[in-house]
């Protein structure tokens, strides 16, 4: 039995029929073709699937698509402004904050949520804010550095997030 949902994703409105049990991450990846959001554990424990729902970071593998009815969603594909990278994207590249890249969309999205709440986090605050996201490549060292760098850039520009 399908449910009709209306959802705004990266500024574009979609109306779709989904099964009640369809996960939001599968809706994004398979129905909308937005495969930038990755699935690492299907249990909210690795954070690879993190997106923003109404500006809050959310793990899309344990939210149903029907729960996102009427919300505004931002995925990694919606972070850059045309050719202009979001400061977090640029900082991850500048600071070698990624290796295999699989956790990276989730890391960037959780950081976006973090910096919206706390525009100038300390190293410890950044590390605490990443608790729910696993990276197996970087040892987090350069991810922490990337987020601190992005915060600085964004504050320098007046903290637009």
């Amino acid at each position: 039995m399908g449910h009709r949902i209306q959802i705004e994703v990266n500024g574009k409105r979609y109306e779709r029929e989904v099964d009640a049990r369809r996960l939001l991450v599968h809706f994004l990846r398979e129905d909308l073709g937005l495969t930038g959001t990755n699935v690492g554990c299907e249990t909210s424990l690795c954070g690879a699937c993190t997106i923003l729902v109404n500006g809050q970071s959310v793990k899309s593998c344990t939210q149903l698509a029907v729960q996102a009815d009427g919300t505004s969603v931002t995925t990694i594909e919606g972070m850059a402004d045309g050719q202009d990278l979001h400061p977090l994207q640029a900082a991850f590249r500048d600071n070698h904050g990624l290796q295999c890249g699989y956790c990276t969309p989730g890391m960037i999205m959780v950081a976006a949520g973090m910096l919206a709440d706390n525009p100038a986090p300390t190293e410890q605050e950044i590390r605490q804010g990443l608790k729910g996201n696993v990276c197996r490549c970087t040892g987090y060292h350069n991810i922490v550095k990337s987020i601190a760098d992005a915060a600085e850039q964004m504050n320098g520009k007046g903290g637009d997030s």
Binding site: D19, R21, R22, H26, R29, L34, T35, G36, T37, N38, V39, G40, C41, E42, T43, L45, C46, A48, T75, I76, E77, M79, A80, L85, Q89, F92, R93, D94, H96, L98, Q99, C100, G101, Y102, C103, T104, P105, I108, E123, Q124, I126, R127, Q128, L130, K131, N133, V134, C135, R136, C137, T138, G139, Y140, H141, N142, I143, V144, K145
Partner: protein
């Protein structure tokens, strides 16, 4: 500044930071359907019957296959091991179990359905009637008389009994020892946990008789070869294996698993493209695990504290089946490293490989070398304590002298180069070693504050796998050279086809740096292609810290051939002898006559025009090299961990971690540092938190990320890294490899730090992981109560 050695930003990143990277699960093919594998819930059971009738009629189901009906024809259906030790017992590993299941997670059937929800739903409806049997999961228990048997042909569960070194000489050394120390230790079982789960997408072209498999692979040509030889049976040229973006491997994506072969057979049987992607629970049950050793080691010392002998006996778990390279890991990648950085005149090591009713064990980042390093660096601390020496001084006393290279160890390796003192000096300086010892003494005296511990690990690794003749004589069923093709296009831009297959290491960037440096072209003029058996000539892939040292050297040699041909063309144009032509700064000129010059672009264009051209030379400019290394490479370093332990709870906090690594010349320092950071986190994870635990019935108790404690950002400090540079003398780039250094060195450094903190409680050794409970018990069972 030279492009070789520059921290240029990675060209891989723009796609990956914008969500445009395409991993296996991102790929869609027309008519694609999904497979879900039905897995055994028992560690050991006889399959009495399988009823697929209900699953077959479930919504969306296209087909259901069991081990009896998945594989058609004579060939195919098993996954092999590729490293044959003397007298190795090699039971079949069918891609779906037929009669017996041997570990929780062993596949018994597969459901193909229109979408992944329907496939997983229907997999629940497959009725398997099992007759459960007794299981054994512990490596020591598996080798005891009367243990449940994993395979009928492996009596006593023994897969192999292997040894290396001179037993008599070692016993003689022990008979002359002034002092001996010994330790019994476990090297904990680990789950690799690449964040991208394993997956495969298989497509069958019936008209051409061709199979294409996109798979999460570190070595697509090896996967293809094993599909041809064992699991699929199609000719090699009729299989195309593609590794798209791969989300981390750490060894776990080297091996040929049943799952990609199952997906391929499903595609061939149904005529539809079939995708299979593991859930996280499936990866934990089926990705080859790492480590799982039980060892006894003894070290003999003379009166002055010089090591005169080392003997080691190790029991190594193989799991339920022999995975692709499993037999090599606790033998040739382990025993050969037991001399560490030390001049040890007599060594003997024996390893017993045991089948257990668990997930197979194979290479995981470091593969044998972390186990060896943990053992030698632990017993070094025991030796230092026995002699009443500082652990740094004791190590220094036993270092191989810098003028002793090349140094032949007692365990079959010839270290080509090394200079161990400066790295240790630098690491001690980085942490402020003496001040830390003073702080520790002060805390011990006052009893105030947390316990402070400082741990050293001066390690060596053998990587850049490896001389083909040597590994062949040791049982490898493959050569371990690497290939590269350098194609110069008519306009002078370049495509490099590398047999390495990166999955996060940044090859597209660093390999372009190698070529740009050699040919003095802009790095953006060089493209790197890897990971596709149709595009790229046969290659061995990426593991064992080999891609820069072996894959990079292959590229360098292919560039040599390009330059050599360019010289012949330039000589013709300049009316000179090719022997008189030099290639410098991007131009060919006559030696000593810089005015007589031909630009790179002109020579390239002439290679394709062939108008004004040597008679005996083929047109075109494209060269291939297969580089077979003369030796392993030997990165080394000194790592120091500083821990604080809560006296009331036993909680260990890693306060500081500093390391000085020597990985030879460095192509891209930014990437090298990133590799060290990631390796450290994995090694520290093993030391403090990670462990795969089975209960007595063979259930994996750490099957999810709720139970298996991966390191997270808040559990780690930032790392202090530095380098010394001792170039590798036998490869053209002088590079050694860096992928595994952090993981090899750090478990011992952290464990030594914790044991150092607890030394006043009489603690001499603790096995990893050093959980709060384990540390608290160590403090409270020794009865000292002092700190």
């Amino acid at each position: 500044m030279s492009v070789f050695g520059a921290s240029i930003k990675r060209r891989e990143d723009p796609a990956l930071i914008t969500g445009k990277g395409k991993y296996t699960d991102d790929l869609v093919r027309p008519g694609m359907c999904f497979a879900a594998i039905v897995r055994s819930p028992h560690a050991h059971a006889r399959i009495m019957s399988i009823d697929t009738s209900e699953a077959a009629t479930a919504p969306g189901v296209i087909a259901v296959f069991t081990g009896q009906d998945l594989v058609r024809g004579e060939a195919g259906g098993v996954v092999p091991t590729c490293w044959l030790l003397p007298n190795l017992v090699t039971p079949d590993h069918p891609i779906l179990a037929k009669d017996l299941v041997r570990h929780v997670g062993d596949g018994v059937a597969v459901v193909v359905a229109e979408n992944r929800y329907q496939a997983h739903d229907a997999a629940e409806l497959v009725e398997v009637d099992y007759d459960p049997l007794d299981a054994v999961t512990d490596v020591v228990a598996a080798l005891e008389p009367g243990a449940p048997q994993v395979h009928a042909e492996a009596e006593g569960n023994l897969a192999f009994d292997w040894d290396l070194g001179d037993k008599e000489k070692t016993e003689a050394a022990f008979s002359q020892a002034a002092h001996t120390v010994s330790v019994d230790l476990r090297n904990s079982r680990l789950i690799p946990h690449a964040v991208e789960p394993r997956g495969a997408l298989a497509e069958w072209d019936d008209a051409k008789g061709e199979l294409t498999v996109w798979v999460t692979s570190q070595n697509p040509h090896v996967h293809r070869l094993l599909m041809t030889l064992a699991s699929i049976g199609l000719p090699e040229h009729k299989i195309r294996v593609i590794a798209p973006e791969v989300g981390g491997g750490f060894g776990s994506k080297i091996h040929h698993y049943p799952d990609e072969a199952i997906a391929a057979w499903c595609a061939m049987n149904t005529g539809r493209p079939v995708k299979w992607v593991a859930t996280r629970s499936e990866t934990n049950l089926t990705d080859a695990h790492g480590r799982d050793h039980a060892s006894h080691a003894e070290m003999a010392l003379d009166a002055e504290g010089r090591i005169i002998g080392l003997k080691v006996e190790t029991k190594a778990a193989m799991g339920a089946y022999l995975s692709t390279f499993a037999p090599s890991v606790p033998t040739y990648l382990y025993g050969t490293l037991l001399s560490g950085q030390y001049d040890i005149p007599a060594i003997h090591v024996r390893t017993l490989g045991a089948f257990t009713h668990t997930t197979p064990v194979d290479a995981y980042r470091g593969a044998g070398r972390p186990e060896a390093t943990f053992l030698i660096e632990r017993i070094m601390d025991l030796g230092a304590a026995k002699m009443g020496l500082d652990p740094g001084d004791f190590r220094r006393k036993n270092f191989i002298a810098p003028d002793a290279f090349p140094y032949a160890t007692q365990v079959a390796l010839e270290y080509d180069s090394g200079n161990y003192g400066p790295a240790l000096d630098r690491a001690l300086e980085m942490v402020g070693y003496q001040a830390l010892r003073d702080e520790q003494a002060e805390r011990r005296k006052s009893g105030d504050g947390k316990l402070l511990g400082i741990g050293l690990s001066t390690f060596i690794e053998a990587c850049g796998l490896a001389p083909s003749q040597v590994v062949g004589s040791l049982g490898a069923q493959a050569g371990l050279w690497e290939s590269a093709k350098v194609r110069v296009h008519p306009t002078g831009t370049i495509t490099v086809y590398s047999g390495s297959s990166g999955h996060g290491q940044g090859h597209e960037t660093t390999f372009a740096q190698i070529v740009a440096d050699r040919l003095a072209v802009d790095v953006d003029q060089v493209e790197v292609v890897q990971g596709d058996t149709r595009e790229v000539q046969f290659g061995m892939g990426t593991y064992g810290s080999r891609s820069a040292a072996v894959g990079g050297s292959a590229i360098s040699e292919a560039v040599d051939k390009v330059i050599a041909k360019g010289k012949k063309i330039a000589a013709h144009l300049l009316e000179a002898s090719p022997d008189d032509i030099v290639f410098e700064d991007g131009a060919f000129h006559v030696q000593g006559v810089p005015a007589k010059t031909q630009a790179w672009g002109d020579v390239v264009l002439q290679a394709y025009l062939a108008h004004n051209y040597p008679d005996d030379l083929e047109p075109g400019l494209e060269e291939t090299a297969f580089y077979n290394p003369a030796n392993f490479t030997y990165p080394f370093g000194a790592h120091i961990a500083v821990v604080e332990i809560d006296r009331d709870t036993g909680h260990v906090e890693l306060r500081q971690y500093a390391c000085c690594d020597d990985v030879g010349n460095v192509i891209n320092p930014m990437i090298v540092e990133g590799q060290v950071h990631g390796g450290l986190a994995q090694g520290i994870g093993q030391a403090l938190w990670e462990e795969a635990v089975y209960d007595d019935y063979g259930q994996l108790l750490t099957g999810t990320l709720m139970d298996y404690a991966l390191p997270r950002a808040h559990m780690l400090p930032s790392f202090d890294t530095d380098r010394t540079v001792t170039p590798c003398p036998h490869n053209p780039l002088g590079v050694k490899g860096v992928g595994e250094a952090g993981t090899i060195a750090s478990p011992a450094a952290v464990t030594n730090a914790v044991v150092d903190a607890l030394s006043t409680f009489g603690v001499e050794h603790l096995d990893m992981p050093l959980t709060s409970e384990k540390v608290w018990r160590a403090m409270n069972q020794s009865g000292n109560g002092q700190g």
